[in-house]
Symmetry: C2
Subunit: 187 residues, 2 copies
């Protein structure tokens, strides 16, 4: 992505942001250096500071996104797994933003805060609405399950999970999601 000589502020800023997302997603916060990001774009490291103020500012900008959860109102709880999983996997496959946030959240309290807030404000309510008894435990458990899938597939690349084709993984995981959302509740 060496824009190099184009001298267009917006394009350069965007290229830095994109390179930063990839680096943060691949290496985490500490191992990512401004020098590397700048080199990926073909630009002086000072440009990163110029546009984003600091390394923390760069990450904040890189991890700023809207979740755009699909509306689950009309879907029967039993079909939720089949509905959710293909989208979920496709997003993680094509956009490194989530992976960057997840990886960084493992070691950075600020990023963990952001992820927690995302969970509490958007994920849990959206899922809880889709359960018959609206038990928040189900939504939390589903979030935990999906996060486990993302971690083993995209961060750790555990062979059993990472090597499965998306549709096969979705087929195996769908009944689990149904169980989480509609299974029996403890006393």
């Amino acid at each position: 992505m060496a824009s190099g000589r184009s001298r267009n502020a917006g394009a350069t800023r965007g290229a830095i942001l994109s390179a930063a997302r990839d680096r943060f997603a691949a290496d985490g916060y500490e191992r990512t250096t401004l020098r590397m990001v700048a080199a990926d774009v073909g630009v002086d490291p000072a440009m990163v500071i110029r546009y984003f103020g600091s390394k923390q500012g760069l990450f904040t900008a890189a991890a700023d996104f809207s979740l755009d959860l699909p509306d689950l109102d009309g879907v029967a709880p039993a079909d939720l797994g089949a509905e959710i999983l293909p989208r979920f996997l496709a997003v993680w496959d094509h956009d490194s933003t989530f992976l960057a946030l997840l990886r960084v959240a493992m070691t950075s309290p600020e990023a963990a805060d952001k992820l927690r807030e995302l969970f509490a404000a958007q994920v849990v309510p959206a899922f809880a609405k889709a359960t018959p008894d609206h038990a928040p435990e189900r939504a939390a458990l589903l979030g935990s399950f999906l996060l486990g899938l993302a971690t083993t597939r995209y961060v750790l690349a555990t062979p059993g999970i990472a090597t499965m084709p998306p549709d096969r993984l979705a087929a195996w995981a769908a009944p689990v999601i149904r169980e989480i959302l509609t299974g029996p509740a403890p006393a």
Copy 2:
């Protein structure tokens, strides 16, 4: 753990190792500094190098453990959740070694290798043996689910999962484990 003046090599080495585990578990690899670990023990940073050679050597020693998975041969698959979960949660609550390895594996390829190897060599076979059809997908999915629980509860501290009492979390998660191990397999 300030042994300070005791001048006992074995005890000092052990204290350093223990402090290192806590630091790696809490902060990850990069944010953990030898100076901090040494200060926790009340010792000069040079001692850490003296006993472990390098920071990488310290981590390798800190993350070296045997898994000691319980024998699941006599347990009916339907009861596996109730059998596994309390042990699982207790271990994570009282020993920071696993948390250290998990957190570091998120950003360090070497630690991720170790975790993958642990999964492939010990976790998956032990779980696969406990399923009726011995499908490796079930074991992988169970590993993914447990890892998701550990991540949301101990690393990210997601409110819905982290605040649940252990027995309540076990009660909610047990049927999910049963579904993973004994539920229908896709075509």
